[in-house]
Structures are given as C-alpha cells and as structure tokens.
C-alpha cells in the first residue's frame, strides 16, 4: 500500500513536477484526444471496404471504367418522398456495375436486374435495415435504437407488395401468399385492412352448419374435428387439436343446434336394380365434376380441381338422401354455393348418388363410438364453440359471429419487436416470428386458440411474405405512389337471366365485368364475339372448342326457354363499345379475298401452328379449333381480335401480330368461310 502510494507520487512528480514539463504533458494529452476523432474516421469499417473494393477492381479488365464510377467517402441516396436516407452504396460500391456479374463476395456484388433503379428507390425500401447507418452491424441487424434488420432474401417479394396491390408476374410468392390469406380463411378471424380502407375478403366459403344434421352424422363431425386432413388431405379446415371429450361435446352441440331444412318433397324413385357403377363414373366425367372437385387416386395423388371439396371419401361423410337432394339442386341447401345447378334427370341423380355414395373409407369412422348426447355435453359444446370462435367461419344456429375474434393484422409487417414474445432459441426477428406462428401456433402456448393449419413450407413462406408486406410504409405512402389493385367488382346481372346465371353458377368459372373466376374465358364482351344461333346451341349442348383443355364447360341440361333467355341477355348486354357487331357481314366475301386470307393463314402468319382449320392437314393444338369458326364468331370480332387480341381479352396468349388492315380483312374473310356443315348446306 505504502509502496504504491509512493510510486504514484513519484509519477506525479516526474510528469507535473516542473511547470514546463507539465505544460508539455498536458499539450500531448490534448493532442492525442484531438486525434481520436480523425483516427476513428480513418480506421472506420466503410473505409476498409472501400479499400478492398479498389483492390478488387484494380486487377480487372475494366479497371479504368470501374475506377471512374467509384466515389470516395460516404455515399448517400436521399428520397424525401419515401423518407429514405440510404448510405448502403458506401460499401456496396459495385451494385450498378454489370462487369462485376461474376463477383460473388459481398459487399461488392452487382445487383440483379430488377424493374426499379437504385437512384429511384434506394435500398431499404426493399431490403429494410437501417439506411443511414455506416457500420455493418448497425445497418443490417437490429439494435436497441433501431428495430429494423435486413429482410431475409426469401421474403423480399413482400417489399414489392408495399406499393403494388395488384398481382405482379414477377412476384409469384407474394401473389400466392395473398391468395392463401383468403383461401385458408385467415381473414375470417384476423381483420386485414388494406391501405385503401377495404379489407381482404375470405374466398374459402366455409359451409353453414345450420342444417348440418341433414347432411352428415355426429360420428363424422367428431372424426373430422379430430383430424380434418385424415378425411381429405386437401382440406383447408385447420386442426384444433381437440381432446376426445371436447370433440365429442362440440359434435353433440353442432348436431343439436341443427334444424331440419324444408326439403323439396320429390321422393327418390324406387330403384329396382342398382345403378351401373361405370355409368356413374362416366356421368361424373361427362359433367366435368373434376374441373372443381379432386379425388385421391390409388397412387395417392390428388387429381382434379380445388374449387369444391375433395370427394375421395364423400360417401363416408354425407347421407345418401342429402347427396341426392344436393345433386338435384344445391341451391336449396346453400343458396350461395359455387356449385352449379345441373338439372339432372332422376336416373342421372340415382347414378351419381350411387357413384359418389360408394366413395367410402370404412377406416375413417372405425374407431368412433359415441354414446347418446347429454344436455351437459351440449352445454359444454356450445361453450367450446364460442371459445374457439367456430362462428367466425361457420354459420351456427344460436351463436353470433364474433367481431375481431383474433388480433388485427393490418400493420403486422411493422409490429415492434418489443411487443413480441419470442420462443427460447428463436431468432429475434419479425419474419421468424410470423413464420413460426403460422407453422405451429400452439408452440407459443398450449392455451392459444389459433388452430394448426396444414401448410407446405412454401405456403408458410408465401403467407409470411404477404403479411410482411403490411407495413406502416405500405399504409402511409401517398396513394399516388402506389399501384392500386382493381377494386373488387360486385357485378350482378339483372332479371331472369341474372337468376339463371346465379343458378348455374356461371361466375364460378367465367368472369364478367370484373367479377368471377378464371377457369374459363371472360364473357364481358361475349355478345359482340359470338353469333346467336351458335350460342343458343352451345348453351344447350356445349361442344369442345379447345381439345387440349382438361377443364371444359359442362352440360347443364337447361330448357329451350332458359337457353333462349340467356342467349338474348348475353347478345344484348355483353357488347363491346369498340365496334358494332353488325359492321361486317357474316358471309359473302369475294373468293379472291378468301384465297388471300388462306395464304396468309398458312404462310405469312402460320396460324396452323396453334389452330386447326382443316382437320386433315392442320394439327395446332393450342388455340380453339377453327373448323366452324365462321358459324361461331362475328366477323368484326375476328377482325379486331387479329388486330389486337389483348385489347379484346386482357391476358390472351395469342401474340399481337401488328397486322395491317388488308391482312386482317383477308384473314377474317377466310375464317368467316369456315362454316359448320349444317349451316353451309342450308346456305347453298
């Protein structure tokens, strides 16, 4: 102790004992203190990277050009309209250099080609992170002061979604994610408001349970609740991980709350012989049920459309009498169903009912043994149904649809990390949290109500991407800087024809005036496109226009009056303002012009590569067959289509040939001469 005190005092003496020496020492200390700031700057991380970059380009062929593009010091992109200050290009010096395409080391890589430029959008708009930071750590990872780390590349499409509300060709993952939010019914429970104030609407159409006892049994409901994917691998209904007694009580309540439906009273005719199963299968095929419904084949592959439910085990689920009534007219049970009213005859109904009813799986209900329902079970079931928010999706007698059952996700993409409880061992980042929550909601707490969805890893990524797009920036951007989606259309055709179109569920496959599906052609301008006799005949008995297509228009067995009603409506209402349907004649073109058209068809434009006019010679299998096109389409439609197919039907794959008027007229003349044999005979 003594010795150290001595040492200190002698040190003090040495340094400050003499006034001149003291002055020198103090000056030296001051100098050192003053030098700290420039030294820190000189040894900063970004200077180190700039030196590395210079060393990298020095050895390359384009060194002079690269050297000229390089700017020393801190670089900054300032975009006041977005509130962006990006200094990323200080270290990422080669982003715009195409000649660095082969450099794989960061931070010197060339940026891949995208539709936007660096100067217009900066970096953090897409990649997030901290733009103004000048150290690697602060720019890329989250710090106490800044919450926003760099977005992992797998979710980068979410950034496109901040401004682009409409689907983009280049962002399949984002488009899929947005689609899944509706398709898996996420938005039944979670409200997601879009920047324009509208909310994302569900597209899954969960069935009403008001008359469920007519349709199925308590045993099936029990087994379904326990594991929906055991019944149908494609089922979107999530697994609530219910205990046996809970599933028993919910099934008891759901059945007891069901009221019988005033059924149409036409009795099923007594069948003497059992219907032929092969005839049932072929009726199923002819009716193109598989355009919408899938069935799992022996190899385990699910084959068919995903508009309606999978039918692999439908016979185990539904009661035969319900199935028959449903097939007779689905709208009696569910007025809003996407299923068309097929107008089957009684023998056809028997065939299909028997064919579908035989699609059973005895294993599914093998272990389900439920005792008679007790009032306690029903009461407890009702409590559970309320607690789990079943009525958010399904209509249930006696239960009100809850409002905002689950947290709103409108700004989930900017959720502060401080509000998130992470699991132990999990990366503390928003994308990881969202993905984990979608993948296994109950891992965040066994008492949580969010059920287990069965999603593929790619679907989880897509959903995470779509949710990450819902940022504060997306909501606060001026509308002028966003690319808005087309507002959803609630177009409703009027009158008797409108009722018929609803009855046949035309909008399930066809779009008209912005509303409807995309399985079949858009019919907005169908009245300008086709000839009346053809349409009338087609509605009665749809033929095949595109032989390569698997999905085709089914036959709805409509009456002559109904077909006439529909035809009149379509011909009158669905007309394009671009031209008059009667501005060019259906026939009577000069033979020379027709011949010129034939030559153009086969040589200059080589239309036969995709279309068939002469079945003996032509093989084109992509576009519709044109053998009878002169009896199907109107001349001005063909003419305008040839001039600009995409103007007539957006998204058409036929290329625009930039055709001159003479060629288009000659081709129209040639095509209009391709009449159906019946009509040609009549003309002659």
């Amino acid at each position: 102790m003594q010795s150290s005190e001595n040492k200190l005092s002698s040190l003090w003496q040495t340094l400050f004992g003499h006034p001149v020496r003291a002055f020198g020492v103090v000056s030296l200390l001051l100098l050192i203190a003053l030098a700290i700031a420039p030294a820190k700057n000189y040894f900063s991380e970004w200077r180190h990277y700039q030196k590395q970059y210079l060393a990298l380009i020095r050895g390359r062929g384009e060194a002079v050009t690269l050297q000229r593009h390089f700017h020393d010091g801190i670089q900054q992109i300032w975009l006041p309209q977005f509130g962006v200050v990006d200094r990323c290009t200080t270290c990422h010096a080669g982003l715009k250099e195409a000649s660095l395409a082969d450099v794989s080391t960061q931070p010197f890589r060339q940026h891949p080609v995208i539709p936007h430029t660096l100067d217009q959008f900066g970096c953090v708009m897409c990649h997030r992170g901290q733009g103004p930071a000048t150290t690697v750590e602060e720019a890329h990872r989250s710090t106490l002061a800044w919450e926003q780390p760099i977005l992992p590349a797998r979710y980068v499409q979410s950034s496109c979604g901040q401004c682009h509300r409409a689907p983009l060709t280049g962002t399949p993952q984002l488009n899929l994610g947005r689609n899944l939010l509706g398709r898996y019914g996420c938005v039944h429970c979670h409200t997601v408001k879009l920047p324009d104030g509208s909310a994302i609407q569900p597209t899954d159409d969960p069935p009403s349970l008001q008359h469920i006892a007519d349709k199925t049994t308590r045993e099936w409901i029990y087994a379904w609740l326990k594991d929906p994917q055991a019944y149908a691998v494609t089922a979107t209904m999530p697994n609530f991980k219910l205990s046996d007694p809970d599933a028993r009580d919910i099934s008891a309540f759901v059945i007891s709350s069901s009221t019988p439906l005033a059924r149409d009273t036409a009795p099923a005719p007594k069948n003497q012989k059992t219907p032929d199963p092969t005839a049932g299968a072929s009726l199923y095929g002819e009716s193109f049920c598989s355009s919408c419904h899938a069935v799992q084949n022996a190899a385990g592959n699910v084959v068919g459309g995903d508009v309606g439910p999978e039918l692999t085990r439908v016979g185990t689920k539904v009661k035969r009498e319900w199935l028959r009534a449903w097939l007779r007219n689905p709208r009696v049970y569910d007025s809003g169903t996407a299923m068309p009213h097929y107008r089957f005859t009684d023998p056809q109904l028997s065939l299909l009912t028997s064919f579908l009813g035989n699609k059973t799986d005895s294993d599914f209900l093998a272990n389900v043994h439920l005792d008679a329902t007790t009032p306690e079970q029903i009461a407890h079931g009702k409590l559970l149904v309320t607690e789990y928010g079943c009525a958010s999706c399904h209509e249930i007698n006696g239960i009100k649809k809850p409002d905002n059952f689950a947290p709103e996700l409108t700004r989930i993409g900017s959720k502060p990390l401080t509000q998130i409880i992470f699991l132990p061992g999990m990366t503390h980042a928003l994308p990881d949290y969202i993905a984990a929550k979608i993948r296994q909601p109950r891992s965040f707490g066994a008492a949580l109500k969010m059920p287990q969805f069965s999603l593929a890893p790619a679907q989880v990524d897509a959903l995470t991407t779509a949710l990450l797009a819902l940022t504060d920036r997306a909501h606060d951007l001026p509308l002028a800087l966003t690319v808005r989606a087309k507002p959803p259309s609630n177009y409703q055709p009027a009158g008797k024809a409108g009722q018929l179109m609803a009855d046949m569920a035309c909008f399930t496959c066809h779009a008209i005036n912005g509303r409807g599906g995309d399985l079949a052609p858009d019919l907005t301008w169908e009245g300008s496109s086709v000839q009346r006799p053809w349409l009338l005949a087609f509605l009665k008995n749809p033929g095949t226009l595109r032989p390569a297509l698997i999905r085709r228009m089914p036959r709805f067995n409509i009456s002559d009056d109904d077909a006439k009603e529909l035809t009149d409506y379509i011909m009158t209402v669905y007309q394009t303002p671009a031209f008059d349907r009667d501005s060019m004649p259906d026939s009577g073109y000069p033979p020379a012009q027709v011949e010129q058209g034939r030559q153009l068809f086969y040589s200059k434009y080589a239309c036969q590569s995709c279309h068939i006019v002469d079945t003996k010679v032509d093989k084109g299998y992509i576009g519709p067959t044109l053998t009878q096109v002169g009896s199907r389409l109107t001349a001005p439609w063909i003419y305008h289509w040839l001039k600009d197919p995409q103007a007539m039907r957006p998204g058409a794959i036929e290329p625009n040939r930039n055709m001159n008027d003479d060629d288009a007229r000659a081709l129209t003349a040639f095509l209009m001469m391709q009449k159906s044999s019946g009509k040609q005979g009549a003309k002659k």
């Binding site: 891949p112 080609v113 797998r154 060709t169 280049g170 399949p172 590569s609 794959i653």
Partner: protein
C-alpha cells in the same frame, strides 16, 4: 508481484487461444458406422428455385457398396460454392442407404455445382456432383413468361395441365435447354427472333413475333432465363455459372 503478473499473462493467453481455436464441427463428431463404394443421386438434382429460398425438393443421395447394395450409417458431406447452405451439411445414411438434405442456393442467381462425398473403408474419397439452378428476379419472370407463352411449343413434355404442341409442328422448335444451338446465338439475335419472329432470321414462320405482346424488359427476362437453363451452360449467362470457369 512480477511473477504474479506473468502467471496471469500466461493463463489469460491460454484462455484466449482456447477461445479462438475452432470448435470441432458436428461433422467430425459423427462416426460412420458403414462404408460404401459408390455414391448415387436418388432425387433432387437439376432443380430450379428462386434465390434465397430452399429448393422445392430435398437433395437425396444414396451410398452403395461395391455390390450395389445400400449402405447404412455411411458418412456423407455436402459442399457447394460460397453462399450455398445445406441442412444438414452432413450426416449418416439411413436404413435404405440414403441421406436427404435441404439446399438453399443463397441470394445469387446462377447454376450451382454441388458435391456430395463419402469415404470408402480404405479412406478413399468418393464424390458425386449434382447441379441446381437458382433463379433471380429476372430469370423468375422469364420462367413465368415461358410458362405462359412459350412452353406449349418449345417444351416437348406434356403435363396434366398442359398438352404439348411440340409434336404437332412441322418444323420442331428448339427446347430452351438446348444449349448446343442456343448458345451459338447472341443476345441480339435471340431478341430479334423473339421480337420479329422466325422469318426475321430466315427461320420458320411457325415462330410468331412477340414484340407487340411482350415488353422489352419481358424479352430480356426471357433471354436471361433461357441462358441460365441451357445445357451445356451458356457463355452468355449472368451470375455464377460454374462451367464457365
């Protein structure tokens, strides 16, 4: 006093060097229980995936002995160029002799050559090379456009959703993977062919012009995609292309 300092120094130096020493990886912790003679690919080669995402299918390799029988418990390690990661990077083969790994090609578009290797009983290394393709934004867009406009004629394979028109054409189109032909054409020639159709380059009129249907950006994207998937690899492709070097 001084001696104390010295001990402290030695101890701290030892501690620091111990901390700095590389931790033994999990790979070396795995003890192979079997040794094979050959390594074959079961599935997951020649896939395409977007940059930054895990490839749609896992890469599955199988270790066989010299009789061609599957070997259980053989150690397989996966390697790839910088940026590529494997989950797991190594492991022991299962009872059917197979090991499956999920591949993330990283954030740079390109063709990647991946290697899997295992050792024989005599410590001889057996290697298997596979190839995977990472599509960047541009190539991904090209892939979408190919699907919509080109594949029906240029891809001879039919799918359940789409019947190929290839066999119906008198002059056969070149599949986009046909590097032997397409690599000889410059970007300018391909652009002219796509924009103005076959006759522009004295080729078949069955190829229509797309200049009035596709934008310049879209045609560039299509070419970037064609360049990336061509086999043998194209000298015009951008990004990491292993075979160029």
């Amino acid at each position: 006093m001084i001696r104390h300092w010295r001990t402290f120094f030695v101890v701290s130096l030892a501690l620091v060097s111990a901390g700095c020493a590389r931790k033994p990886g999990p790979a070396s912790a795995l003890k192979p229980a079997g040794f094979g003679a050959a390594l074959v690919e079961s599935s997951g080669g020649k896939q395409m995936g977007a940059t930054g995402t895990v490839l749609p299918q896992p890469l599955v390799v199988q270790v066989n002995d010299d009789q061609g029988n599957a070997v259980t418990g053989a150690l397989v390690e996966f390697n790839g160029p910088a940026g590529v990661s494997f989950d797991p990077p190594s492991g022991l083969t299962d009872s059917s002799g197979q090991l499956s790994t999920n591949v993330d090609l990283g954030s740079m578009a390109g063709r990647y050559q991946l290697t899997a290797h295992t050792s024989t009983k005599a410590q001889k290394s057996v290697e298997l090379k596979t190839e995977e393709i990472a599509l960047g934004y541009q190539q991904q867009l090209g892939f979408q456009l190919d699907n919509k406009y080109c594949a029906r004629c240029h891809n001879p394979e039919s799918t359940p959703e789409r019947v190929s028109n290839y066999d119906n054409l008198e002059v056969k189109p070149h599949p986009f993977t046909e590097g032997d032909t397409l690599n000889k054409m410059s970007d300018a020639e391909l652009t002219a062919l796509i924009s103005h159709g076959g006759p522009a380059l004295n080729k078949s009129a069955l190829m229509p012009p797309y200049a009035y249907t596709l934008s310049k950006t879209e045609i560039e994207a299509l070419i970037a995609y064609i360049r990336l998937i061509s086999d043998p690899p194209s000298p015009h492709a951008s990004g990491m292309v292993y075979a160029q070097k």
